[in-house]
């Protein structure tokens, strides 16, 4: 009870921000407000997408004949993926969630039954309209000669990554390294553990979130290499400090599929199902895909991908289902208390 109270208190500012719109959004009203609860790096992406969707909905909305075009306003909420999922579980009235990992979305089902089983099959491509991957950002000219995962475990290389216990992005980083080692000739559990142990030995700071790590590497100038989402890496290398850093793509990495879902329990209560479903589906449209690509997320559509080919070089990837049996099992083995990540830091007995 009390925890819910605390979390509600935390999310209160968000609620207040959206409360104005949440109240009068009945199904017959021509003005609808949606709340999209998302994670940190998608802030700019959805700012642009929301405006595009509002224009699209005004033109295409069903049943609008003879009436004024329906107006839709989409409010965004951003934060760490896990924290956002908990806010929704604890009562934040999200119509749509667009989070960093399927594990967090699935918790809406496991913990609060807000979405049904099989939610990930409701939309194409595992409900992930865009993908990203895990890459390296190094100092300009790559002075430490970092090319691939084993270089991160070398002595004298300082690696920046967030804490996998608190950051969804950091879990992708960790699993990318683990999977790389598994896929090498002669790779097995032991070689994977050796590589990951070596990498984390080189990590001087474990920030709580992905943006924190980007700041540590970009602003504080700490570390020789930052392991990051490709979208964050490209943002840093193309927009924020193009003269100081560059991106290195490892020979093999993980395919990150950030999923989107309509929150059934909430849209049914608020009567916003039609527009919420249109909202997530429109992400797959040419315009939606274009906006994703513009903000450095890899589009699913082949045409849009071809258009932005210079931005997204070919990369060898594996998925979490292929190597780890899905998020729930990966979370349990690696990141829960007493899991492999904790063991890396336990003093040797």
């Amino acid at each position: 009870m009390s925890l819910r109270t605390i979390l509600k208190a935390v999310s209160l500012p968000l609620l207040l921000l959206t409360a104005a719109g949440c109240k009068p959004s009945g199904p017959t009203s021509s003005e609808v407000t949606l709340l999209n609860v998302s994670y940190d790096p998608t802030r700019e992406l959805y700012a642009e997408y929301n405006a595009a969707f509002a224009r699209h909905w005004a033109k295409e909305a069903p049943g609008a004949a003879g009436k004024a075009p329906p107006k839709v306003t989409v409010n965004q909420s951003h934060g760490g993926s896990g924290k956002q999922a908990r806010a929704v579980i604890d009562g934040l009235e999200a119509d749509v969630v667009t989070l960093a990992l399927a594990y967090d979305v699935d918790m809406l089902r496991q913990k609060a039954k807000l979405i049904p089983e099989g939610w990930q099959q409701r939309l194409p491509n595992n409900s992930a309209p865009y993908t990203s991957t895990i890459v390296f950002v190094v100092r300009k000219g790559n002075p430490k000669g970092i090319r691939d995962w084993p270089d991160l475990a070398r002595e004298g290389v300082s690696v920046i990554t967030p804490n996998p216990k608190t950051s969804g992005g950091a879990r992708w980083n960790y699993l990318a390294a683990w999977g790389y080692a598994l896929r090498q000739p002669g790779g097995n559990e032991a070689t994977a553990r050796a590589l990951v142990t070596g990498i984390f030995k080189n990590v001087p700071v474990l920030d709580a979130g992905a943006r924190g790590s980007t700041t540590t590497f970009g602003e504080r100038k700490l570390g020789d290499v930052l392991i990051a989402w490709e979208d964050e890496a490209l943002l840093l290398s193309k927009k924020i400090s193009p003269d100081e850093v560059e991106v290195v793509i490892p020979s093999l990495t993980i395919l990150a599929e950030p999923p989107v879902a309509v929150v059934d329990a909430n849209v049914d209560r608020k009567g916003t199902r039609a527009v919420a479903e249109a909202y997530v589906r429109y992400l797959y449209s040419p315009e939606g895909q274009e906006i994703a690509a513009k903000h450095y997320f890899r589009p699913r559509s082949a045409e849009v991908a071809a258009k932005y080919a210079d931005r997204f070089p070919q990369v060898q990837t594996f998925t979490i289902d292929e190597l780890f049996g899905g998020w729930s099992s990966a979370q349990k083995t690696h990141f829960d208390d007493g899991g492999v990540f904790d063991q890396l830091y336990r003093p040797q007995r």
Partner: protein, 274 residues
């Protein structure tokens, strides 16, 4: 018994309802959530070596920060009350700034300053002193957020302290040190202890500024509130509240102890006058 002051029943009732709503109810909820764990699971969660290491850092750093603030906060209050100098009002206002600044901003700023590449950090680094991403950095952040408490509790007491007391002591032949030790200090001690308690309690629960400067390395620079967040991240609400309860019980015992100490010092402080 007829009371001289009217309204006891009403105000007492309101006080209880208010305290129950604002403090007791949430705390009861916290304990209830913990009791969803079995005793073994609860014990395992709170005695986990990683958790124990975090208690040591959380309480140790909070204590250190509280003590630093007690000494320097007293000094700041003294300067603000007893001397008139240009810009005094500005300094006075500066003291409250740590209250107003969002703690995350404080954390980011301190980290930028004290990181190896920061303006202060690079200098300290040459002297072989690392602040950011070490336990020392945690103390620095907690000292920052706790500063106003001591100054603001000592200031009004010092203002009300009649300078003629010191003059009287001086005419009776007391040395400056004796005046401080026998006249000033006993009068100020209860306020200093209150300020210390507030600063300490604030520091124990601090999260926002510390996560930036500590680096969050397991067993080395993880504070207990951070561990609580890692448990929430696994949707382990019961485990998170178990740690919270430990912090709460620790803090409660410490605060009761400090209160007793304060009563004792208050009584001692008043004696010479009566």
């Amino acid at each position: 018994m007829k009371r001289v002051l009217p309204g006891f029943g009403l105000t007492f009732g309101i006080t209880w309802v208010y305290l129950s709503l604002v403090v007791l109810l949430p705390l009861a909820g916290l304990f209830l959530q913990t009791f969803t764990l079995s005793w073994e699971a609860l014990w395992a969660a709170v005695t986990d070596p990683q958790a124990v290491a975090s208690y040591r850092l959380s309480f140790g750093a909070a204590l250190a920060a509280g003590l630093i603030n007690a000494v320097f906060g007293l000094l700041v209050a003294w300067v603000l009350v007893r001397y008139r100098f240009p810009g005094r009002e500005v300094v006075d206002a500066l003291v409250d700034l740590p209250f107003a600044l969002p703690t995350a901003v404080a954390g980011l700023t301190l980290t930028a300053l004290y990181a190896e590449t920061g303006p202060l950090g690079s200098y300290l680094n040459q002297l072989g002193l690392k602040v950011a991403f070490t336990p020392l950095g945690v103390v620095v952040a907690l000292t920052f957020v706790g500063l106003p408490f001591v100054v603001r509790t000592v200031q009004p007491i010092l203002e009300d302290l009649d300078p003629s007391l010191e003059e009287a002591a001086a005419t009776l032949g007391a040395s400056r040190w004796q005046i401080f030790r026998r006249v000033l200090f006993p009068n100020l001690l209860p306020a200093v202890i209150t300020g210390f308690t507030l600063a300490f309690a604030r520091a124990v629960g601090e999260y926002g500024s510390v996560v930036f400067i500590s680096g969050n390395l397991p067993f080395r620079t993880e504070i207990t509130p951070f561990l609580i967040v890692t448990k929430l991240e696994q949707y382990d609400y019961a485990g998170a509240t178990a740690l919270a309860v430990v912090m709460l019980l620790f803090s409660f015992c410490l605060l009761v102890g400090i209160n007793l100490l304060q009563q004792w010092s208050g009584r001692r402080g008043r004696q010479p006058g009566h």
